[in-house]
Structure formats: C-alpha cells, structure tokens
Symmetry: C2
C-alpha cells in the first residue's frame, strides 16, 4: 500500500451511496413471493472488475461475466442479479439465458449488452423463468433511482436472515470519494443452492486494471478470508464498479486509500455473511502468527476454521485447545508443536508443550460470547493471517439435511 | 500383488485368532469403571510393523513406538493399550510415562522393554494415572490367554458404541494362516479426545520389512480410506504383528495372500469404525473413477466425503447431485464438468452437463437405506478410488459441542 494519508467515515446508502449509480429491485416471479430481481446501473460506462469462483463447475452467469469483462477490457454499465435460481448446471439453455438477461438490460438501457454483467443465486440445475425476466428487466430498468440500495440488497437474498449493505466515505488530499457495497450468502441455503455474491461500488475514478488489483487485494483479507462450511460454490462472484462521478482520480498514490475504503465496506459485508451463516451463533476469528510466511499462516488458520471439531467445541463453549492444536498439526505446514502457543481470547491455554487447564473456566466464560478470537502461534516467523468462520450447530444440520419437499 | 491363488474364510477370535498370540484386559482405574487396559502379547519375538498419525502433534506413545520399531528393526513381544487417557500434549512427564508402561510390560514378560509397543486413547492433555498402571500391567500380563480377544477389543473402546474385532483364515498352496484384528475409533469422542487405533495379528511368518510394506498397502485402501470428520488425531496408530506360529512362510510369492487376508480383516474393522462414527446413521462409499491417476481420484473422493453439505444431504436422504458435483469441482483436480457423471446407487442424476431430476424420487428412496454408494465419473482416465465416510447428523454436533462438566 502507498503511504497517502486519508480518513474513513461511515456513509449511508449501500451500493448507490457513491455518486453515479442507481438501482432497482422488484418481484418478477422467479420466487413465489419476495423480491427476486435487482439491477445496479452506472450513469455511464464504469470501470469494472470481477473475481469469480475457483470451482471447476461454474454457473452460466459466471462464464458470461468473465467473457464480458475480457471483451470490454474492464468496463460495464450495469449488473443484473436474480435470486431463486442459480442458473448453474443448466447446459446450453442456461448459457443462452444468461446472454438474454444481458441483452434485455442492454436494450432497456440503450447500451452494448457486453457492458452488462449477470449474477444468479438460488437452486442449482433448474432453468431460469425467462418469461418473468423478459417482463421484469425492462420494468426494473425504468425504475432505476438512487437511494434504493436497500431494496437491491434484499432482492439478492435467498435464505439470508438479513440484507447486507454498507458504505463509507474516504477523504484524501485529492478530495472525498465514497464506497458502497452489498452482499448475500449464508452457506448453502436451499437444497441445490450455492452462492456468495458481493457488489462494491465507488465514485472514485479508477482505471480497470487498478480496480481489479484492488479487488483482489481486498478480497484476500475479506471475502476470501471467510468460510462457513468449506464448500466453494458454483456461483461465487465479487464485482467492483467505479463510476468516477466524484471526480477523485485514484492513481498509485491514492491506491492505499482506495483499498482501505473498499476493505472497510467488504470487511463488514464479509463479517455479516459469517454471522448470518446457516445455524451460526458465533463469529470466530482464527488468527495464526509466527509462521514462516503468510500463506503458511493462512493455511493453518483455514484448517482450524474448517475443523468440525473446533467449530462444534466453540458452539458448546468448550475451551478445547487440543482440537485447535490437532487441527493446526494436520494443516500441512511444518512447525514444532512444543513451541506452539494457543490462546482463546486473552486466555492462555497451551504453551511449551503443556496445557494450562487451570485457565479453562475463564476461557469457557469467554466462549459464551458471540464474538470469539482464537490465536495460534506456530513459531517465530513473521507470517500471519486471520480466517473468519462461524460455529457449527445442530441447526446447520437441520437446514442442510432436510429433504426437499 | 502377486498372482498366487488363495482362499479366504471367516474365523473366530479377533486378535488372538492367529496362533502364537494371547491377550488380557482389565479395569485398572484410569476410567471410573469399565475395562481400560489391554495387553496383546506374542509367545516369542514377532515381526512388527506400524503406521502412525501424520499429525505434527504426536502423542507420547506414538513417538515411543516409532523409536522402538526402529531400534528393534521391526520386532515386538507385546503391545500395551490403555483407554481413558491419550497421553498426548503431556510434555516430558508423558514421555516418561510411556517408557514406564513399556518397562512394566517388559519386566512382567521378561523381555527387552524396547520390544514392547504402547498405545493410548482418551482425553488429550491429561497425565496417565501411573499408580493404576503399575498395579494393573503386571496383573494383566499374569492373566494373558488365548480366546480373550473380545475383552481386549472392549478395553480399548472410548465412546465406541460396540467393540470391533474380526478374523479370517487364508489358505494358500503353502498352507493355512490366520489373520485377526481389533480397532477402536468413532471420531473425536470425549472432549479433548482423538484416536483411531488398529491392531492386526497373523500367525504367518513374515519378515518385518515385508510386513511393513503390507501394512502400508492395506491401510491405503482401508483405514486410510475412511473419514468421519476430516480431523486427524494425535494418536492414530495401526499395528501389525506376525508370530510365524502357523509355519506358513510369506515371501514375495505369498505377498498377495497376506495382503488379501490383512485387507479382509482391516476392511471390516474400518467399515465398523465409520458405521460407528459419532452420530452416524449411514455408511457412505464415495467412488470416483475416470481420473488421470489414482491419487486424483482419491483427492476428489476425499473432498466429496468430507463435504458437510454432501454429508448433511445424505443424512436427509436428499439426492443432491449439485453438492456432490460442486464438492468434486473444488477438489483441486482438473476435469471437465460437462463430462462428469454422477450416480447415487444405480440412479443416474447428472450427465452431459444436465441433471436427471426425474430420477430424484428413486434416488431419494435409495438414500433412505443405511449403506449408500455415490459414484462420480470425472473423465476417461483409469484412475479410481473409494473413500468411505458417514453422514453428518445433529447428534454429531450434540456429542462434540457439549460443554465438559
């Protein structure tokens, strides 16, 4: 990051908080009831960036977005999002449907359809109700306005317990710009369902390549540092749009401020996804330090965060350092267990190869809270990383094990 | 494997079914009640082999066994096993306790203590009650006898729902030998608990190096092909002892028969561990084929078998091919999802990029059973592998999330 100075302050309005963006949301008929269609539009061509699922099984809209971003060299006018259907594993028909969604928006907005990005979330293996979209999309585009970001955040929900939106303003020597965002995701929700979607907007002026770089840097510490159940969806997408409407130009000198602003929004959205995880009652931050390098620390943190035994122990407020240590030890990263140190909150539970079981009652008390920090030191190196997860409850099993009716 | 012909038949008696072995079991006081100490002894020095946890955090008895097997070049007279305490993360005191356990057996049997192997299972981070063992071990050694393998299998249990033992006889051109075995393990059981222990005996005459090779080959398709929750314990150990008492000498020509006999016993024990997994109601075999190589197939199978979403779906009898495909796609093995084929039992659910949802009711019916086969074809290669797991139930969360009292 650069050394530019800047300040960050809360702002209102989610994805339409930054100037140059409008949104619309409505119920078009993909779901039985509830909002199921959102359009997010820029007043003119915006710089656009995207990060997509690494799963080999990619939904049709993911493949379409990758193609469009390449073709336009990182420019977009709008993103159209439906909930209730993931348009994944839908074959050639699904690919055509995604193309038609972009065309419907392009026709209504009067722009090149390649400048439209598409996201879908919901049931896998079911085709989109295109009749509903053929009516819904033009209607939505006609109602685009600022100040309706909250409805868009609701329209992209599946079984999320609450909408997730956030905005901040960033003041730098070059002026003030705003960053907004919305996201959805709660694990795998309906049967056949799989998605995390994130949308970040800013009215800063950012070249597409720089915006993409910022999006990757931001995702690494936010959306890519969370895990609910270790399963990677077919539809995961994170979008960044920069309208330039604030007149604040971000170059290398302003890069740190841009990343900080995007991170402030993305971090809050990512934490909201974890807190809203299926059956979750606690947010758990697993911090690993002392590794030889950051990637090692991240690998250990991710293994601990995905351990069923750690997640169930935390759910039960059990200060089970043995499970934390055992998960760390199978992460594939070499370290000397005799030099490992395990804390839960500020409570030291394991050091010099020996437990501090006298501290267990204090740690158990701490684990009754809803925000938990686990700290594992694996050596004397400088590598550190944090991965966020939630606890594993019987409710998670109920949600994901109920037979579809 | 060699091409020697042989036949396998069931036998009775667990670890003492093969000639040349005796066992004893008693309650020495590590647990409040119930058998907690077992000794398995060979009449004379036996060939010995062992495979131990790959976790960096290794319990004291694991480190001791590795040292003893190296020092004796693969020979042992006895294995002493306690349940109720894992002797893991117990520092120097724990290492001394493991050494004393071996010495107590050596003194009672009149053999070199380095020819004694040690295994412990139970709570992590708690020291052994050595007073109980100082009385119990000599008493156990005095009562060594054949025909008591069942008691030994019970004495190594923690919260296993049932003892696990098995034996077969193998008839080859060179004569008949017997293979016996016992095992324990049900996931992570008590708070702070972590272990799978397996013990295989045979009265064939096998050089230590060949026995070790056989143990590795056998474990690959049995104990190392199962997963309950993806967590690797600090105490996992699999032992092989060959007494030679049958007079049947196993060399390269007989290697196939040895592996087949050991596999017959180990497979049954491994399946019993999975069926007895914490909260488990179903045994699930995930078979992956068509990969470029076996290791690729195994990696995909393991990822599917450890997917919480797949395990909860099977628990709920939900024929959720989308979760199976999505888990396959994130396994890190390249394949073309359009060519993937997913079956549940004999029911085709996904092919040519498209679902067969008309078959879902049939698949749901199949998933009501207690033995489930999932089959994923990922290409046209010859690599295939099967990984066994169990379903994930709310009961698993209850068992592992209850706060220690």
């Amino acid at each position: 990051m650069s050394t530019s100075t800047f300040t960050i302050a809360p702002a209102q309005g989610g994805v339409t908080a930054p100037a140059g963006f409008s949104s619309a949301a409505l119920h078009c008929g993909i779901k039985a009831e509830a909002l199921d269609l959102a359009v997010l539009a820029a007043d003119g061509p915006a710089s656009a960036a995207g990060i997509f699922t690494t799963n080999l099984v990619k939904a049709a809209p993911v493949l379409l977005c990758q193609s469009h971003l390449t073709r336009t060299a990182g420019h977009a006018r709008a993103i159209v999002v439906n909930s209730g259907c993931a348009n994944a594993c839908t074959g050639d028909a699904g690919a055509k449907d995604a193309i038609e969604m972009a065309r419907l928006v392009g026709d209504a907005l009067g722009c090149d359809p390649h400048q439209v990005l598409v996201a879908s979330t919901g049931v896998i293996g079911v085709n989109l109700k295109m009749d509903a979209l053929r009516t819904g999309i033009p209607t939505a585009v006609r109602s685009l306005a600022r100040g309706k970001g909250g409805d868009a955040a609701r329209a992209i929900m599946t079984t999320d317990r609450a909408p997730k939106e956030q905005a901040v303003s960033v003041t730098t020597a070059a002026g003030t710009f705003t960053v907004g965002g919305m996201a959805k995701g709660a694990g795998m929700i309906e049967p056949h369902m799989a998605t995390m979607l994130g949308f970040l907007t800013t009215d800063a002026s950012v070249e597409p390549a720089l915006l993409q770089r910022a999006l990757v840097d931001v995702a690494k510490e936010t959306f890519n540092a969370i895990t609910i159940d270790g399963d990677t969806s077919t539809n995961d997408s994170l979008f960044g749009l920069a309208s330039g409407a604030s007149g604040v130009v971000i170059d290398e000198a302003g890069y740190g401020a841009l990343v900080a602003g995007l991170t402030a929004v993305a971090h809050d959205l990512a934490m909201a996804i974890v807190r809203g995880g299926e059956g979750a009652t606690k947010l758990i931050g697993v911090h690993v330090h002392g590794a030889a390098q950051e990637s090692d620390a991240r690998q250990v943190a991710r293994t601990v965060a995905n351990s069923l035994l750690v997640k169930t122990a935390i759910h039960g407020a059990d200060p089970n350092w043995g499970r934390i240590l055992a998960a760390s030890g199978r992460a594939g990263v070499p370290f000397d267990p005799l030099k490992a140190v395990v804390h839960v909150g500020d409570v030291l539970l394991f050091e010099n190869g020996l437990p501090h079981d006298d501290a267990a009652p204090l740690a158990a008390q701490y684990l009754m809270g809803d925000t938990i920090r686990i700290d594992v030191q694996v050596g004397e190196g400088t590598g550190e990383a944090t991965v966020w997860t939630c606890d594993l409850s019987a409710e998670y099993v109920r949600i994901n094990g109920e037979y579809r009716t």
